[in-house]
Symmetry: C2
Subunit: 318 residues, 2 copies
């Protein structure tokens, strides 16, 4: 939870996501973090004029409120996922909880990569670009996109859910299952006893040291990621891709591999497309969530002052 | 070429597309057909107030004019296509030619499936739907889409080029290469001598008669088509798909197969999505091209009178 005013960011608090208890556990945690943040900022919840949320998705609509039906959090949704969380939730009533916080408070909930593209278009290195996509390459893959300057939302605010585009004839082979940090780590760990704590970084390091298995995995993952970007470019006629997320800390290794594969795909639509790393990196989702509800008059000031660069009050609440 | 006024359609003329000569052959043919249509309609080219075009694509921009860089027409573009036309064109200067026709004439060129979705949203069975895609299932696969009521265009007016989304690890396996009418026919003909004149209809008929090879081909093509639609729904969060094109004359056989596969894919985003056959069928592209430039005031009248239903003056110019 980040609290900001016109002048900049006042406080940031964070906690690992709760995955146990009933399906109100996460809404209650968000409420608790908002309270903590308000306390640190020395304001009352009633002073909040708007709340922007970057959340994992998909979403569903329950009456006028958005609920989160993301299978990586909701254990009750039986999809073929890599990680099954320890609960039986089928939906998380996030907006319902937030709407009870403060009667005058405007609330806007979008996917965390969708708020990412909002941040990138307002404050990032492709500011003002009308045909722009933001892609998080992290434990999962998230996407957000503008086409012709229009932010894609769709019937349930789930566009563009690029990580789940189907990439092969196999039932559930998606961009995410073929190239996410989780899948890179899992592929490397498979067949090696006691290696369940491997993360994507270990695989990149092994690749750089010349490990053959790591090489195959990194090249295949980069290829799948690149072909995913190409499918997005083919569907949306995108001009610029901004790539963020934890896996991109290895951008010097990965981006050249991705670009090589990307431009091979259907040159009539991929030629001239720019692929670049996010300059907002770690703060892109917070910034995007704020930008969702930020008054027009703040934006000019924030563009000039870049207050997210001096975000010193980041607090971990135990 | 279809000429219309407020009251309805005056004349339609058509010819098979010319694929030989220099790269102005098609623009010259279009110009010729416009002249012929004007002649039949008893008007001068100078009386045309606007020209809407539904064309195959991708497009490129040459100065302020759109050129067609579609590899199925431009033999000079070396992609891995099923059919290589007998020319060395790298672009077709279509808008340049049309812009010289009549100085006051407004010109708008879009992909033929994109004009299809414009027609479907104005005059079809999903009229007014804000999250709508139109898909032609024909010799190729074309797509057009609205998201949140916004017609997707993209940096070069090539969105959404769904037929070329990548669907497998193989270099060029696209929705089109796996499920188009051309690919259905080609798969059936392969290995059978003297069967080069097989068309998709023959394969559907063989499938209905219990032919095993045909069964495998039809089921695989329907599955690839369905997974393509699912990827589009996942990226655009679509509510309704309208499917048209020649292959859809077998909708009674194919749509049930497509639906069965479609709803298997990522239910969080495909559940509740409607897939239906086009009610505008044969005239959807003409109607969409007209709709691109049609005055607002005509639309109400056309919705009521449905003038495309009594389109009697369709002429084939030899």
């Amino acid at each position: 939870v980040t609290i900001a005013d016109r002048k900049g960011i006042i406080v940031v608090v964070q906690q690992p996501t709760i995955k146990k208890g009933n399906n109100k556990a996460i809404p209650n945690q968000v409420d608790f973090l908002i309270s903590q943040a308000c306390l640190k900022a020395g304001i009352s919840k009633l002073h909040l004029s708007a709340i922007g949320v970057g959340s994992c998705s998909p979403f569903s609509k329950r009456g006028k409120h958005i609920t989160v039906i993301c299978p990586t959090l909701c254990g009750g949704l039986k999809y073929n996922y890599l990680v099954r969380p320890p609960n039986r939730w089928t939906e998380i009533p996030l907006e319902h909880k937030l709407s009870g916080l403060n009667p005058g408070c405007k609330i806007k909930i979008m996917n965390d990569a969708v708020v990412g593209v909002v941040a990138e278009r307002l404050f990032g290195s492709a500011a003002g670009e009308d045909n722009l996509a933001y892609v998080t390459w992290s434990t999962g893959i998230g996407t957000g996109a503008y086409v012709d300057g229009h932010l894609l939302q769709g019937k349930n605010c789930n566009a563009p859910h690029g990580g789940h585009m189907l990439m092969s004839n196999e039932e559930y082979a998606t961009i995410e299952s073929l190239s996410s940090g989780t899948s890179i780590a899992k592929s490397f760990a498979s067949g090696i006893k006691g290696k369940s704590k491997i993360i994507a970084t270990d695989v990149v390091v092994a690749y750089q040291k010349g490990d053959k298995k790591a090489k195959k995995i990194i090249i295949n993952a980069s290829r799948a990621f690149a072909r995913g970007l190409a499918s997005i470019a083919i569907l949306l006629d995108t001009q610029v891709f901004i790539v963020g997320g934890g896996v991109m800390r290895h951008k010097d290794v990965l981006l050249p591999l991705v670009k090589k594969e990307f431009y091979k795909c259907f040159p009539a639509m991929t030629a001239g497309v720019k692929i670049t790393a996010s300059s907002l990196s770690g703060f892109v989702s917070d910034l995007g969530a704020l930008a969702l509800v930020m008054p027009e008059s703040w934006i000019k000031e924030w563009r000039k002052k870049k207050p997210w660069k001096k975000c010193i009050n980041r607090l971990l609440i135990g």
